[in-house]
Amino acid sequence: MFIINCPFCGEREQSEFKAGGEAHIERPKQPTELSDDEWAEYLFMRKNIKGIQFERWNHMHGCRKWFNMARDTSNDEIKAIYKIGEKPPIK
């Protein structure tokens, strides 16, 4: 179980949080303009990499805020936590 440093509340147990999948996938502004393939790309395609993965997390049983996390999936080390709308502080 991770200890997650919520940018709004501080360090809390992982059980207070919910993972929300890959980060930095913007919802298309004009979905109706997209082909089936382009829409499917947004809808279904997600990375599952060994290494540093950028993901969304929600402090569900706390402040209910969403934020981003850079996590090394090979050892679960949390490399960075940053707010929605911010650029990842690491590569």
């Binding site: 919802r27 109706t32 089936d36 929605i84």
Partner: protein, 1001 residues
């Protein structure tokens, strides 16, 4: 037959306190401080069980939690019975009753023993290969396999004991209170750190504390006495919390560990009342020091599993700690110095040692000189090729090893004995380290895996880190501690150590035999009866990865997780495949390190505390009125209210008729309620619902359907515009939390520019729904000031009102198709308003109805229930709800997916009504729907999602999803059931009042 093998008094058992216990029905005596194993051995009992596959007689092999054989059932046929308990861990108490497992009918005469004779027919993978075909026979095979195998019996009555969970936060957690753990605990605690020391045994000090040999000295005292003083000192430290009988089960990431603390298992049963039996400790440690020591390795040779064959270290522990001799004529087989330590210990206590068979050719050891001084014959460069004696060892056969150790040469020598101690060197106990995600490396010189890369702020010290000799522990531990704890000095920086041990070892994973391998039974995994032959067979059949070999041969898959034999399995694989150790992987040690009881895992979360449940403000009223309840999410909802011995069907029929004929009342408080405010609230609703919201006037209500981005229906409910920038949304009962989460997600991450605020008010408001042709009359008495005319208060509108001084929101909305009102009221007033409705409704036979009647009434109207009539594959078009999709809207969640090539297909499963040819036949929800039962295989078209007998239509009605159902109106379909087939006709899903006349009646 019962001999007393208690040879010497020991300060660790209390000989003034005699304890009687039963084993397999016979009474025996031991002393306080004994384990079941030591007490049995003192009574000269070795045979304690049968092996799993061949049912070979097996005896006590170890003295700790790694025990593979001595697995017993405690207190058979009582509510406290417990299977798979290691006799080596059970502390005896007055009244203890234990019995052997894996034997039927008894340990001395076991029918399954015939498997031993059949063993050439039972190779690795036998069960997989043989019993899998024909598949239909599996049930028959299984009965016999289970009866003659069996892994103990689980209790059949509720567990009478109490269990608890405890959360602990600390600076340093030390796992294992052997010599290195004690040194670490003292050092950490004395430096002001909040420290916890846990050990699975009832006493501290590991295997050093009973070390009284002149060959091992620390600061000129024998090592046991030195350590005892250290232990007495640490017991006085305030910021050190010591937990004995506490076994760490799991070491998770971020230094989160689970441990089981045993509090009463060592007490007589009558003393356990009202006490917590076991605690699950949930420990979050800033730093973890693993000091779990090492496990002695057995050696792999023919018939190495007979009762009377023990690890050499176990024999030493039984002699030194418990004062028990495991045999009167002892022989040792070893490849290192450890067996000599044991032999010396036995000789000092007057126990006879016949011989030591040492794989090593040349031995440079002070211990060897002492042994030879005592006239014990040492066979250098020899090995044991076979053992004899069915229920107890009585003879061993030895032969000389060839130079390369791959063959035996010369002639066979037979020696009689009643106990054989084996020592194959030591394996660092890296189980917890690997659980935590640590990576191992292989140390060639003594063939061990040791920690190499840590995954968190932790270290391993002492034997589990590869410091197997006492002098290395004393030398290295202070160094590691200083660096890890970032301190300048420890109390142990200048400790003097004297040791006679020689570290040489001759490691041979599979000892050679004079027989061919196929004729030997050299056990690698004792509990699962996996032999060296099985592992080689698996390799011949093409298995390479250790994880595959493990599953195929079942090596390491017992309750002991192969703590003894896993290294040999790896060794034999690498030798056979000609690869380096570890190249095929090491097996993963998974939690728990030793088995946990279910009680410990669930703690206090049993019975009514299993899960929290939510009650509406009218819950007590429902109870008083004999409601049956249904769980919806965490809510307890009134399901139906049986009267005069009605069954569920009868109650629901009565309630349904009353609601349509006069008046019904429903507690709808569990519906999710989200308060939505902000200048962009209308725009927000436009984006999250499929239909248009901007033109909804203040004071009006609208039904909305919410989709996922993939176009599938997610939730539904009525939303009311309370004011220009203020809405109240209702969601399904089960979906409330998820809907709020989803809306927050879009607001925070996709549309942060919108000025919208969401607040859950589910618990703040209760909802009372009154429906039926007389509902208007009832509400006019409950709220006399409210003008209920259709002109002032039409269907799908809302009014603020007062009931006495209490403010409430009244919506004229309907889920039943009847003229209907929903009163939303502050939760703490709700019960009084409910009772007022009941009072005012008395003359109209107002009838409380539960969720089942609600479901029936809405089914008559063809209204869907999200989650019952839909799953995550239904679009609004599939539901024939095209009318709710705002085609002119530019965008909403899921819109684009509604015209993906897959979602526009005609032959998707679509919602239809189903009418049975026999109007009294009620379909089963979930039943499959087909068109042609003669086709093979039968094509499944869909299934029934809702089904009821409608008392208002006097016939059975059902909803279902059918492939291409939209175009099947009037078509005959078939529902095949177990004993019959039911004929149905596809119908309009709206069965009653298609013109909605009743809404305004």
């Amino acid at each position: 037959m019962s001999k007393n093998l208690r040879v010497k008094s020991s300060k660790f058992v209390d000989e003034t306190y005699r304890v009687s216990f039963k084993f397999n029905g016979s009474r025996y005596y031991g002393y306080k401080g004994d384990t079941l194993a030591s007490a049995l051995l003192a009574n000269n009992i070795h045979l304690v069980g049968r092996s799993f596959k061949y049912h070979r007689p097996r005896g006590i092999m170890t003295s700790g939690s790694e025990e593979p054989n001595a697995i017993v059932q405690l207190h058979n046929n009582s509510d406290r019975t417990e299977p798979n308990v290691r006799a080596t861990e059970v502390e005896i108490y007055e009244g203890l009753e234990a019995s052997s497992q894996n034997c039927w009918p008894s340990v001395n005469f076991d029918i399954g023993g015939i498997n031993n004779l059949l063993s050439p027919l039972l190779p690795a993978g036998f069960y997989y290969k043989t019993f899998m075909w024909p598949a239909s026979f599996w049930e028959k095979y299984e009965y016999f396999i289970r009866k003659s195998a069996g892994l103990g019996k689980s209790p059949t009555t509720p567990d009478p004991d109490i269990y608890e969970h405890e959360y602990i936060h600390c600076d340093v957690l030390i796992v294992g209170a052997g010599i290195s753990g004690i040194m670490a605990a003292k050092t950490a605690a004395k430096n002001g750190l909040k420290t916890i020391l846990v050990d699975e045994k009832p006493n501290l000090g590991g295997s050093t504390v009973y070390q009284s040999s002149e060959h091992f000295k620390i600061n000129n005292q024998n090592s046991g006495s030195w350590l005892e003083k250290e232990i007495n000192e640490i017991k006085k430290i305030d910021n050190l919390d010591i937990r004995i009988r506490t076994s760490v089960a799991a070491f998770h990431g971020y230094n989160f560990l689970l441990a089981r603390e045993n509090l009463t298992d060592h007490l007589p049963i009558e003393q356990r009342k009202n006490k917590t039996r076991q605690k699950l400790l949930k420990i979050r440690a800033k730093k973890v020091i693993t000091a779990t020591g090492s496990l002695e390795r057995p050696l792999i040779f023919d018939n190495n599993d007979r009762p009377g064959i023990l690890l050499s270290s176990a024999i030493k522990r039984y002699a030194d700690l418990f004062g028990v001799a495991c045999g009167e004529k002892n022989i040792f087989l070893t490849n290192n110095d450890s067996a000599y330590e044991t032999a010396i210990s036995l000789i000092q206590k007057g126990i006879k040692v016949e011989a030591i068979v040492d794989n090593r050719e040349e031995i440079e050891s002070k211990l060897l000189y002492e042994i030879e001084k005592n006239n014990v014959k040492v066979f250098k460069g020899f090995t044991i090729v076979n053992t004899h004696g069915y229920k107890k060892i009585n003879k061993v056969s030895l032969m000389k090893l060839s130079k390369d150790g791959q063959k035996v040469i010369g002639s066979k020598i037979d020696l009689s004995c009643d106990c054989l101690g084996v020592s194959g060197g030591w394996t660092p106990a890296v189980h917890l380290f690997t659980q935590s995600g640590g990576k191992l490396k292989f140390r060639e010189e003594d063939q061990v895996f040791i920690p190499s890369k840590y995954s968190s702020d932790q270290i391993s010290i002492g034997a589990c880190n590869g410091d197997l000799a006492l002098e290395d522990i004393i030398k290295n531990t202070p160094k590691y501690l200083k660096e890890f704890l970032n301190i300048k000095k420890t109390d142990y920086d200048n400790v003097e150590i004297f040791s006679s041990e020689n570290k040489s070892k001759r490691n041979i994973w599979l000892l050679p035999s004079d027989k061919i391998l196929g004729k030997t039974k050299s056990f690698v995994d004792y509990q699962n009866d996996a032999t060296a032959k099985d592992i080689k067979l698996a390799l011949r059949e093409g298995f390479r990865s250790i994880e595959h070999v493990k599953r195929y041969t079942t090596t390491g898959m017992g309750t002991d997780q192969g703590k003894l034999g896993n290294m040999h399995a790896l060794g034999i694989i690498s030798e056979t495949a000609g690869t380096k150790m570890g190249e095929h992987g090491t097996t993963t040690f998974r939690p728990p390190y030793t088995p946990l009881t279910f009680g410990t895992i669930v703690g206090r979360n049993v019975g009514e505390y299993f899960d929290i449940f939510r009650k509406t403000p009218m819950h007590e009223w429902h109870l008083k009125n004999k409601a049956e309840f249904e769980n919806v999410g965490q809510w307890k909802r009134a399901w139906y209210y049986p009267k005069n011995n009605e069954n569920m069907f009868e109650a629901v029929q009565r309630e349904s008729r009353a609601a349509r004929e006069s008046a019904g009342i429903l507690d709808a408080s569990t519906l999710g309620k989200i308060d939505i405010q902000g200048t962009d609230a209308s725009e927000f609703l436009n984006r999250v619902y499929t239909n248009a919201w901007s033109k909804l006037n203040v004071g009006k209500c609208r039904y909305g359907l919410m989709l996922n981005e993939d176009g599938m229906v997610y939730d539904d409910g009525v939303t009311t515009r309370l004011a220009e920038n203020h809405y109240i949304m209702t969601t399904t009962t089960g979906g409330a939390a998820n809907v709020l989460g989803k809306l927050e997600d879009y607001l925070q991450t996709e549309w942060p520019e919108l000025d919208v605020y969401l607040t859950s008010v589910t618990d703040h408001f209760a909802t009372i729904s009154v429906c039926g042709p007389n509902s208007k009359k009832i509400i006019s008495n409950v709220i006399p000031d409210l003008d209920l005319t259709d002109e002032n208060f039409p269907h799908m509108s809302f009014k603020n009102a007062k009931i006495g001084k209490i403010n409430c929101r009244v919506m004229r909305i309907s889920f039943t198709g009847e003229h209907s009102y929903e009163i939303n009221i502050q939760a703490n007033y709700a019960n009084s308003v409910w009772e007022k409705c009941m009072d005012e409704g008395k003359d109209f036979n107002i009838t409380p109805y539960g969720t089942e009647t609600m479901h029936l009434l809405r089914a008559e109207k063809g209204f869907i229930i999200v989650g019952q009539d839909t799953d995550a594959t239904m679009t609004p078009i599939d539901l024939q709800m095209d009318w709710i999709v705002g085609k002119k809207k530019y965008d909403f969640i899921g819109k684009r997916s509604l015209y993906r090539s897959d979602t526009i297909k005609d032959d998707r499963k679509q919602l239809v009504g189903l009418l049975t040819d026999n109007p009294n036949e009620i379909l089963e929800e979930g039943a499959q729907i087909v068109a042609d039962i003669n086709k093979s295989p039968i094509e499944m078209l869909g299934h029934v999602t809702s089904s009821y007998y409608s008392p208002n239509l006097k016939k059975s009605i059902a909803l279902g999803v059918v492939r291409g159902g939209k175009n099947m109106m009037g078509k005959k379909l078939i529902i095949p059931m177990e004993n019959k087939t039911i004929n149905v006709t596809v119908a309009d899903p709206v069965f009653l009042d298609k013109e909605n006349k009743r809404l305004n009646a």
